[in-house]
Amino acid sequence: MMGLLLTLFSPIIGGFIYGVERVVKARMQSRQGPPVLQPFYDFVKLMQKRPMMVHSFHASMGIMYFISTWFAMAVLMMGNDLLIAIFFHVISVLALTIGAFSVRSSYSIMGAMRELMHVVSYEPVVILLAVSLYLVTGSFDIAKILTSDITPIFSLPLVFISFLGVMPMLLHKSPFDIAEAHQEIVGGPDIEYSGPFYEAVYTARWIEYVYVYFIVFLFGGSNYFLGTFLVVFSFIFINAVDNSTARLDYKKMLKFAWFILIPLSMLNIFFVVVGAN
C-alpha cells in the first residue's frame, strides 16, 4: 500500500526534491533562487504550450521515457526484487536514447551516444550494489531489506561511496552531466522535445530523483532515521559537488567508474564475503 502511494506520488515528491535542489543550489551560489514550487510552475507552463514535434516517433519516445521511468518506479516499490527494478530502468534509457537517435540533430545523437556511456559507467556499480545488499541482508526484496536487523551502511561503506560516485551520472549532475551538457550540446537527448512532450521528459527526471534517493535510503536498513540522514547527506553532497566542479569528458567518466568505483565495490564485497566465512 505504501509502495503504491509512493509510486503514485513519486512525480510530486520528485518535483519537490528538484525545487528544493534549485533553492539549495542558488543559496550555494549566494543567490536567492526560485520558489520551492518552481518545478510545478514549469509543469503548468509546459502543459499550456502549443505542441510541436520533430516527428511522431520522437515525440512518443519522450512520453514513453516518462511512462517507463514511472513503471520502473512501480517495480522498485511494489515488486520484490531490486535487480528487476534496476533492469527496468534500462528500458527507460532505451526509450530516451532511441528517441534521441531518431532525429536529424547532431546534438541529440551525440547526447544519446553519451547517455549510453553513462549506462556503461553506472550500470555495473548499481548491479553490484544490489548484490552487496543481498549479501548483507540475505534478500533482494526491498521490504526485507527495510526490515532487516542489519544496517547495510556499516558493512558496505565502500559500496555507498561508489554509489555516491555514480549518483551524478544517474542524475546528470556535474562533473558527470556529460549527456546533458547544457552549455555544450544544449541538453543532449532532451533538446528536440518541446512543450508538452518536453514536460514528459522533465517529469521523468523528477521520478529518477525519487528512484535514486530511494536506493540511498535502502542503505539505512530498518533504521529509517539513519536512512533519511543518508538521503539528506547525499543530497547535499551531490549538490555541493555539482556546484563546485567542471564537466569532465566521457572517457574520464568511464575511467573513474571502471578503475575506481567498480574495484571499490568489489573490494567491499570481497571483505564482506571473507568476513562472513
Binding site: 515488486g79 532511441i98 536529424r104 547532431s106 553490484l128 533482494f140
Partner: protein, 617 residues
Amino acid sequence: MEALIVLSIVLPLILGAIIVFAKNDILTSLLTWMMLPVMSILAFMIYAADLPIYVDTPHVLHWIITLFDFGLLAYFLYLGAKRKSMLVSVLSLVQFILLVTVIWVLPESSTANIYVDKLTAMMYLLVAIVGVPIAIYSIKYMDFDEKDKHLFVGLVVAFLGVMNFAVSANNIEWFFAVFETTTLFSVIFIGFRGDKEAVDNSTLALWMNQIGGVAILLALLIMIKDFGVYHFTDLLIIDKETMSMAAFGFLSLAALIKGAQLPFHKWLLGAMVAPTPVSAILHSATMVKIAPFLLLRISPIIEGTLLAKLLILTTGFVFVAAAIFALTQDNLKRILAYSTISLLGLMMLAASVGTPTAVAVSIMLIIFHGFAKGFLFIEAGVLEKVFKIKYLQEMNMLLEKAPLTLLFIFFAFLNMTFIPFGVFVGKWLMIEEASGLLSQGSSVLLIALVAIGGVFLSVLYMKVLGVTIKHHRFTDIQVQKQPKTFLFVAIWFYLWLLALTIFIAPFAGDFVAQISNSLTGETTPIHADGLSLVVGESTLYFWQILGALLLLAFIHIAPLKFKFKNVDQMHPYNCGEVYTRQAGTYDFLFLKKYEGIANMIAITLFMLVVVLGGQLL
C-alpha cells in the same frame, strides 16, 4: 520410440541427399516445407515420451562409423595437401594416429551408443523449430544470384540430421565422428562460394576445429586408461571424489573451441563470408550449440572442481571481452557474431557452474539465443539480398528503406537483452545464482564478470538500434514487398518469441526446470506461480512481464504505425543553421589495440584450463 529417434536423425540426411541429387525446384521446396511439421511432431513426441531412452545399435554400425572416421580424416588430409596447409595436414595425421590408438585400446562395452534424455529432446525441438525454418529460408535466399541452390539446401537439411545425431551420441568415439562431421559441414558451408577469401576462411575453420577433434581423441584415450569407459552415461555414475579430471579438461577444450571462444573466435567470424543462412544455422540451433551442450553433459562431474572454476574464469572473460570488441565492429554480421561468442561464453559459464539454477540458465540461453540469433541473421540476409545493405553506416534511415525488416530486427535485438525476454531472464537468474554462491563464500570474480558483461551487450544493441533509425524524417513510410518465404520465416520466429515471452514463467518453471532437474538430479528452485516466475525468494510478477512487454512492443512498433494528429512538425534545432547534419556514432576503434592482449589472456586461460584444471601437473 527408438524408431522415432532414429527417424529424426536419418530423415534429414535422406531428404538432404534426395534434394541434392534430384535438383528439382518443386521437390526441394516440397520436402523442406514438409520437414517443418514432420520434424516438429517427431521432436514433440520424443520429448513427451518417457525419457531417458537408450537405443541399442547393431555392432556393424560401430564399424561403419569408424570407417567413416578414417574416410573423413583422409579427406581432411587431402584438403590439407590441396590447399597447401601444413597445419591441416599435420593435425589430420595426428588425429589419424590417435584414432588408430583409440581403436586399438577400445574395450568392449555393452552400454547403448545412443542416449536420449530431456536435454537431447530439447535440442531436437530447437533444431526442428529454429533449424528447419532456416532451411526453408535458404531456398528463397539462394534464388538471389547464387549458384548451386539444391546442393546448398540439401546440405543445410542434412546438417540438421548431423546435429540431431551429435546431441544424441552417448559413445564418445561416435561423438568424435559427429564432431568432425560438423567440422566437415562447416568447411563446406564456409567455402561454399569458392572464392579465395571463402577458401581461406574455411581452412581456418578446419584447423581450429581439428584441434578440438584432437582434444576429444586425447580425452578419449585418457578416459579409457583411467576409467575404462567411454560413454557419457557411464562417466556420470563413476564416483566423483576420486575422479581424475584430465579427460574432462580436454573435453572442455574441445567445447571451448567449438564454442568459438577467444582466441579461437576467428573461425566463427570467418563464417560470415558464406551465404547468410549458414551463419543463421551455425549460430542459432546447431554447431556452436554443441559447445554448451557438451559442457552441460559433463557439468555434474566437473561441478565445484578446479576445472569448473577455471572454465568459469575463461568463459566469463570471453563473455566480457567479446562484448567489448563487438562495439568496435561496423559490419552487422560481425557484430552479431561477436555477440554470439559473448553469449556462448555466458552459456558455458552457467554450464560450468553446474548448480540446478545455473544449468537452467544455460538451457534458457541456448533456447532463446537460438531463436533470437536465427531471427537476426535471417533479417541480416534479407537486408543483404533485398536491400543491399551490409554495413552499419548504410543502415541509417532503414525505416524508409525497409520498415518491416527494421521492425523484426528491433524485436530480435530487444529479445537479446531487455526485460522480460528470455535472454534477460537467463542473465537475471545467473546474477541471483552468483549472489547466492557468493553468500556461501565463493566465486567473487564470477559476480563481477556476470554483472558487467551484460552491460556492454545492452549498450551494443542500443547503439545498433539507434543507428538503424538515425537521421530520420519519417515522411512517407511504405512497406516494401518482400518474398513471402522470408516473411513467413520472420513471422514464425516473431510469434514464437512473443509466445515464449508471455508464457516465460510456465516455460522456465516447468519446461526448463524439468530438464535441469533431470540433468543435475536436484530440484531447481524455479517454478511458475500462475504466469509469474518465482525463483527462490524473488518473483518476476506477471504484471511486470506484461508491462515491460507492452512498453517494448510500443517502442518497436511506434516507428511504423504511431502518428500524433494535429501536432505541427518542426525542423530540428541546429543553432538556426540549415547545413546538412552528419552526426556519427562512437566507433570505439581505440579498443581494437587491446585485442591482442585479450587473445594472450585467453590463451593463458586455455592453458590453465587444460593443465591445471585437468590436473596434468
